[in-house]
């Protein structure tokens, strides 16, 4: 009897499979990878095209049709161009190198110890702090009248008044390097820990590390000789993304960098916003130069890898068991304390400024505390806050939906997305945003004319579209592993009970993915909240968010208001992550009752 049942259900299945071809859900799922590609490639490559054309003199919007090198000629004659290039180059390279080296020292020193997990817990929240907020906090800390100088005054420094300042805005970009390093360090560290948390790889690395210890290798040396060579390939892409970002971002250099001259990315932004529209040609040429700078850095890093590998290959097997491990361990511990202390002081300073009443210079604590700045700021903040939320939620919603559909496509087709798609997903993280966003804006303006009946919302639409380019990759990377790890037998069981693919997706898979979806949503919101350049450019400055306001206020307005905005910038993503982390626990707890 059971055989007969099986046979009849087999026929039912066959009929269902036939029907699937016309099933709306399957059709949407099948189209989703193409939509994903379109949403990533159109802005990046279209945007690049929209920069290349004006860079060579062809800009219909400016009635310029003379194809030639006038943009580049103007660019070469810019005073201080060498300084700008050097600044972009050094800040990008050194911050990435520092963040990478410190991450490795921490990993090596605390590998397989409970401290690594604790450090991870302390540093994880830093990851969701937008760059602008981090820059503001660090700026407050290292300023002449900042927390650091207050703590050593007057008992150590002997200063009566705030000293002449070197930091921030120093001409060498040391403040930028400091800011970027502290911000990228947790990212690289967490990427490494994520790789080491993969069950199979992580176990293999732990065992091999133990085997090296048994062979007499000191723990840190064992990490560098045994774990790192296998771990590094998994870190390469995140590091390249960090390098690309660090060499071309505008938030940190605008808040912490010098103005005479600033980094290349910042000056490009200034040219694009100049009242003199002819500077746009020069700015486009500059954007291409930025592309070259970043590409050169990426290439340099890859060559550096090869050189290091060539010279250190023999060292791996020379049998030397330790390289002053005791001192390095001590150094790493001190470094950890310094880094965490620095971050903690920066955040404390930010919090204090946001509630400070009167606060004379050498004192480390304000004379009085007040909520006045919060009250005034909050009344002015409602519009940017609502904008941040609208854009963040819409962008994240679209990104999550599209990602889930693409991953469902993989499972329905029984194969992973093409190599091409997987590479394209990383493209927005590797191409400097300043190099393609202007082109994107230009293209968006071309299309705007045709849909002008929804005039008021166009800026929002454009902004969401631009945010998607940056939110999609992170949401995709965050959801992929959980989706691929789903036990496929649940779907098969559900299908064998007669559930349509859409029902399997909504009623079986999505509930199982509740927690990872929430985490990916929180990540998407955090990324969207933190976006400065895409918001500013795609909306044409018409949509203000907490982040754009914070950066505007950072250079000029009172420290106290600026602190409130920076704090709000941190609070929003933090709330998102707390909800994402707590909600599943709460729901499952109440389900048990």
């Amino acid at each position: 009897m059971s055989i007969a049942n099986n046979q009849s259900s087999d026929t039912v299945q066959a009929v269902k499979r036939l029907r699937q071809h016309t099933d709306w859900f399957t059709r949407i799922v099948s189209a989703s990878p193409k939509l994903l590609l379109l949403l990533l490639m159109l802005p990046v490559f279209g945007g690049l095209l929209g920069v290349v054309l004006p860079a060579f003199g062809w800009a219909p919007a400016l009635s310029q049709y003379d194809i030639g090198l006038q943009g580049f000629n103007a660019l070469w004659q810019t005073p201080g161009l060498n300084k700008m290039l050097t600044l972009s180059f050094t800040t990008g390279l050194f911050s990435t190198l520092l963040a990478f080296c410190i991450s490795l020292l921490l990993l090596a020193a605390f590998y397989n110890s409970v401290w690594l997990e604790r450090i991870q817990q302390i540093l994880s929240p830093i990851l969701v702090i937008p760059h602008a907020a981090a820059a503001i906090a660090i700026g407050f800390l290292i300023a002449p009248s900042g927390m650091l100088s207050r703590l050593v005054t007057p008992w150590f420094s002997g200063w009566q008044l705030a000293p002449e300042g070197f930091f921030p805005h120093d001409v060498y970009g040391i403040s930028i390097i400091l800011g970027l390093t502290l911000k990228e360090l947790p990212f690289i560290l967490l990427m490494a820990l994520g790789a080491l948390a993969q069950p199979e790889f992580g176990k293999k690395m732990r065992q091999q590390h133990q085997a090296a210890l048994n062979l007499g290798y000191a723990p840190m040396t064992a990490f560098f000789k045994v774990v790192l060579p296998s771990l590094y390939p998994l870190l390469r892409l995140p590091i390249l993304a960090v390098l690309a970002y660090a060499s071309s971002s505008v938030e940190m250099p605008m808040i912490l960098g010098p103005n005479t001259p600033p980094t290349l990315a910042v000056v490009i932004l200034q040219w694009f916003h100049d009242v003199d529209l002819n500077l746009r040609i020069q700015a486009s040429s500059g954007a291409l130069l930025q592309l070259v700078v970043t590409a050169t850095l990426l290439a340099l890093w890859l060559v550096g890898e090869k050189v290091v590998k060539f010279f250190l290959c023999a060292t791996l097997t020379n049998g030397k068991r330790a390289y002053g491990d005791g001192y390095w361990l001590m150094f790493s511990k001190v470094l950890t304390i310094v880094v965490i202390g620095f971050i903690a002081l920066a955040l404390l300073g930010l919090l204090l400024w946001s509630v400070a009443g009167f606060w004379r210079f050498p004192q480390a604590w304000p004379d009085s505390l007040t909520l006045l700045h919060w009250q005034t700021a909050l009344t002015q903040m409602s519009e940017p806050l609502v904008n941040s939320l609208i854009i963040g939620i819409s962008t994240t919603g679209i990104a999550i939906t599209l990602t889930l559909l693409c991953l469902e496509f993989e499972q329905l087709k029984g194969k992973t997305l093409s190599q091409f798609t997987s590479i394209i997903i990383y493209i927005p993280l590797l191409v400097p945003s300043i190099a393609f966003l202007f082109g994107l804006v230009w293209i968006q303006q071309l299309f705007t004319v045709k849909v002008s009946f929804i005039d008021g919302y166009v800026s929002y639409f454009h902004t969401i579209f631009a945010h998607l380019v940056f939110v999609l990759p992170y949401v995709f990377l965050s959801l992929t592993s959980s989706y691929r790890l789903l036990d496929k037998r649940f779907a098969i069981v559900a299908a064998s009970l007669g559930a349509k693919p859409s029902k399997v997706f909504f009623k079986v898979k999505l509930p199982q993915l509740f927690a990872p979806i929430l985490i990916a949503s929180a990540l998407g919101l955090a990324i969207s909240f933190g976006q400065y350049l895409p918001t500013l450019l795609a909306s044409g400055g018409r949509v203000s968010t907490i982040t754009t306001e914070a950066i505007t206020l950072a250079n000029g307005a009172s420290r106290r208001t600026s602190a409130v905005y920076a704090f709000m910038q941190m609070l929003l993503p933090l709330i998102g992550f707390i909800v994402a982390w707590g909600l599943p626990k709460y729901i499952f707890k109440s389900a048990k009752r």
Binding site: Q210, L213, L215, A218, A222, K225, P229, S230, L316, G319
Partner: protein
Amino acid sequence: MLSSLQIKKLQLFRQNELLLSLNETINGGDILTIMGPSGSGKSSFLNWITGALPQGFHAEGEVWLNNNEITDKPAHLRQVGVLYQDPLLFSHLTVAGNIAFAMPNGNKKQRLEIISDALEQLGLKDLGDRHPDNLSGGQQARVALLRVLLSQPKALLLDEPFSKLDQQLRADTRQLVFKQIRQHQLPVIMVTHDRSDAEAAGGKIITLAQQSNTHVR
């Protein structure tokens, strides 16, 4: 001086449950075999000797190696070699690289000669430049053996070292390992749940029960 590994008044606990108590001296060239079902604390016992007792376990007692106490020394200073059931060869290094990794620092040319001699002795000639992942199970086991022996340990621990090999290979590899151990006059503790391993070792056999009862045969 005859080398020796001494376990003095060991009591090994998981949480507060006594897993095993032991008081043994193993002389160079001798193999002490510990048998028992999984969960009886065999592997934790070896971990304790190497200095890597996992969380949740604790131990009282002392380990002495050649009349030096090593109980509280960090893992990498104990000079105790281990062979696990997985060969745990480093996949970022070649076969020769794996062995060189284990050898003491020294003259490069001499080291290379030692490696090629050793590979030849164990029938692994010309495999030095190969990648360990491409070797057969038996070859990997022999490379792992060479690696641990050329690190010049003062004692050797075998943690189910043959359990992943098939029957014939198992007997051959076992014979090879035991022969090398006698040649090097190393004190050895082997943990296994295979009776033929224990009998082939030809030394004292201690059988652990599931709980804390310890039977000595």
